[in-house]
């Protein structure tokens, strides 16, 4: 169905892309054949490091006319195969489109190219006393990638997710047309919200080449508190109590001792406390020190009443680094602790978090597989990892399938969603279809067809 790229195609692409930004066939490094988790592998036929919207437009126009598949890619840190060229074709890499174009202090927005890294964006706005709240663990992901998956992160409890901070997108449609969805305006009741449709569409509808993001003033105070518990059950049972207390929290994360120890081994740095089985990490922020103190005192008392052994203050840069650097490395640490793993990034209603985490322990026993987890207890988004630990291939595949079936079935029962923030990509398609049913999947297919009738953009993903 798709056209195999030939010399004529390469010659055309090279007519407007200089030699140093285009790689063909064996010139393409193997890194571009997989994402961070590496569940599926295939190299694109051509890799182009684009510099402008106009270049993307020319590439897409040609690809659409010639039925060549195109996949957009940023840092390639995704976990579900969304940035892998499963049908070959052209890979459009946005890493060099990494300019911050405007900080608009009157509209509280920042305009960026898609290849700007999350950590660069956060550092830049904080230097100017602004705050970009979405805070996924993978700070070397690009903003384009964050928009494509609607990444969430640790501050979603209070501030929401990437979609809540996207004001306007410049996109290139599959036929090469350049469009602007949304605007700098705060409000809009102006027809279907195409901008919000693009956020989370994983590069299947168009390619984002510029984004206007909403900023907030930087809160002057931020304090975290690490609460130790004697068991994971006790730790997670306290979460609904915290939420019910109406305290204004920025983050509620849970972590188990074995995950912390994996992170210590991975980073070569000690965590400030490893005396207990499980920990809850809370963050409070604002502009009033006294108010924050009142909040954390109230929540700490409540947690201690419900089984926390103590509450430890994480209040200086050094302390925040010692705790949050470990938290940020959990995924890589678990990955380094085993030969292969796959992940389940379900999100369940907040009041089901404790039940779901307990269920992961049950599934580990039923299937006979190690299932470490950590995640955003405060917003119901859990990161559950199934570890191969040296199992033979067939046994691993069978156990993985059984484990996933059980976990996703339970998530459906709880009215949860297949993915909280990592996306569907290639790996989770069957679970999405099961969750949403034919009617919703057909609506999505209709949308895909309206944008991309030739199905050249990131084929084989999401739907």
């Amino acid at each position: 169905m798709y056209k195999k790229i030939d010399e004529k195609d390469v010659a055309y692409l090279k007519s407007f892309i200089p030699e140093e930004r285009i790689m063909v066939g064996e010139e393409i490094p193997n890194d571009y054949s997989h994402d961070e988790l590496g569940g599926i592998e295939r190299l694109p036929d051509v890799l182009i490091n684009v510099l402008s919207t106009e270049e993307v437009s020319k590439i897409l126009k040609y690809a659409n006319e010639n039925m060549i598949p195109v996949v957009a890619r940023g840092s390639g840190t995704d976990l579900v195969g969304a940035a892998v060229a499963v049908e070959g074709g052209i890979m459009v890499c946005t890493k060099l489109m990494n300019h911050i174009k405007e900080l608009d202090e009157s509209n509280l927005t920042i305009t960026v190219e898609p290849g700007v890294l999350l950590m660069e964006l956060q550092a830049y706005v904080e230097e100017h006393n602004f705050f970009y709240p979405p805070d996924p663990g993978e700070k070397s992901a690009t903003i384009g990638g964050n928009i494509s998956t609607n990444a969430g992160g640790m501050r979603a409890v209070k501030y929401g997710v990437t979609r809540d901070y996207v004001r306007e997108l410049t996109v290139v449609l599959p036929d090469g047309t350049i469009e602007h969805f949304g605007s700098k305006c705060v409000k809009s009741s102006s027809g279907y919200d195409l901008k919000n449709l693009i956020v989370g569409s994983e590069g299947t509808l168009c390619i984002v080449t510029e984004a206007v993001l909403k900023l907030l003033p930087l809160p002057s105070e931020s304090v975290s508190m690490l609460l130790p518990f004697k068991s994971m059950e006790k730790a997670i049972e306290v979460v609904p109590e915290i939420i019910k207390s109406k305290a204004s929290l920025t983050a509620i994360e849970y972590m188990s001792l074995d995950t912390i120890i994996s992170a210590e081994d991975f980073l070569g740095k000690k965590f400030p406390d490893t005396n207990y089985e499980a920990y809850i990490l809370l963050t409070f922020d604002g502009n009033n020190r006294k108010q924050i103190e009142e909040e954390y005192t109230k929540v700490a008392e409540l947690c201690i009443e419900h089984g926390a052994v103590d509450g430890y203050f994480v209040d200086t840069d050094e302390r925040k680094k010692s705790v949050w650097s470990a938290r940020g490395a959990f995924l890589e640490a678990i990955s380094a602790s085993t030969d292969e793993m796959d992940e389940c990034d379900v999100v369940v209603p907040k009041n089901r978090v404790a039940d779901f985490i307990k269920y992961t322990h049950e599934v580990a026993k039923i299937v006979g597989i190690r299932i470490p987890s950590f995640g955003h207890a405060g917003d119901g988004n859990l990161h559950v990892y199934l570890c191969r630990d040296g199992m033979p291939e067939e046994e691993w595949k069978a156990k993985l399938e059984k484990g996933f079936d059980l976990l996703y079935a339970r998530a459906r029962e709880y009215h949860g969603q297949v993915s909280g923030e990592h996306g569907i990509g290639y790996a989770k398609k069957s679970y999405l279809a099961k969750q949403l049913g034919d009617n919703q999947m057909n609506l999505m297919r209709g949308i895909k067809k309206a944008f991309d009738p030739n199905n050249i953009l990131n084929p084989g993903k999401v739907i």
Binding site: L226, P272, A300, Y312, F313, E318, R319, S322, V323
Partner: protein
């Protein structure tokens, strides 16, 4: 083992401006914290006491606001503290500071070991520890990575520029611990709740309380150091790129010279 740890309150961030007229740090409106290197010393002390018994006390010199870091040390596990604080002690250089701190140490009673951080993040002199040991006439060692009790002696490992030294030292003694030797424990909410503002655990020592009443030994008058100029350092953005030759060997040599390997 009874251990006294010297701690200091420093600005909460490294982005502190210098007053171009007076040449002093602008501390107004800047949040404060315990010198991060002192936290390594507090952690080392608490670990030693967990292993060998005894108690950890802390001493600091500074304005009344420095009570906050003494409280923090108590919330980490110290049993009590002394704050040496008087306007007459202000403007002290390393000599006057170390001399004044001696009074605080004497007020805390007998000790086997005094621990200091490697240096402070504001003054950066790394001299107060050694000078304090000289005033007290006890042996001392710097850049200490680990300490083990061996009867009345301590065996310690010292991280010097080109070598690692293992040696023994008689108690009482003073040691300045190296940075990054441990991850300091976090202050406890329960200890904060139990001790409140730690009124009955903290003693404040003023000029009226010290034995030596010669004002020329304290503060600006007791400081022979004349500071000509204080200025903000250039921010270093230099980096080394290795692009040719045996990259693996060159990288290995650099890592080895920095003692990562």
């Amino acid at each position: 083992m009874n251990i006294i740890v010297c701690i200091k309150q420093v600005p909460g961030t490294s982005n502190v401006n210098v007053d171009p007229v007076t040449g002093t740090l602008i501390r107004d409106g800047v949040a404060s914290k315990m010198n991060p290197y002192d936290l390594n010393a507090v952690e080392m002390a608490l670990k030693l006491v967990e292993e060998n018994g005894g108690e950890v006390k802390v001493v600091s010199m500074g304005p009344p606001a420095a009570l906050e870091v003494i409280r923090e040390a108590i919330y980490m596990g110290a049993s009590k503290g002394v704050l040496v604080s008087d306007r007459k002690f202000g403007g002290a250089d390393v000599l006057a500071t170390s001399y004044t701190l001696c009074s605080g140490i004497k007020a805390l009673g007998d000790y086997d070991l005094i621990l200091c951080g490697k240096q402070t993040t504001d003054g950066d002199t790394a001299q107060v520890g050694s000078e304090l040991a000289e005033h007290l006439d006890i042996p001392h060692a710097c850049y200490v990575k680990s300490i083990k009790q061996e009867g009345k002696k301590l065996e310690y490992v010292q991280n010097l520029d080109s070598k690692i030294v293992t040696a023994r030292i008689n108690m009482p003694c003073l040691m300045c611990v190296d940075s990054e030797i441990n991850t300091p424990r976090l202050p406890s909410f329960l200890k904060k709740k139990e001790n409140g503002d730690c009124q009955n655990k903290i003693q404040i020592l003023t000029f009226n309380d010290v034995e030596d009443k010669d004002e020329t030994h304290y503060g600006l008058k007791g400081s022979p150091t004349q500071v000509e100029r204080i200025f903000e350092p250039d921010k270093r953005k230099d980096k080394e790129m290795i692009t040719d030759g045996d990259l693996a060997k060159k990288t290995y040599d650099i890592l080895k010279s920095k003692k990562f390997i």
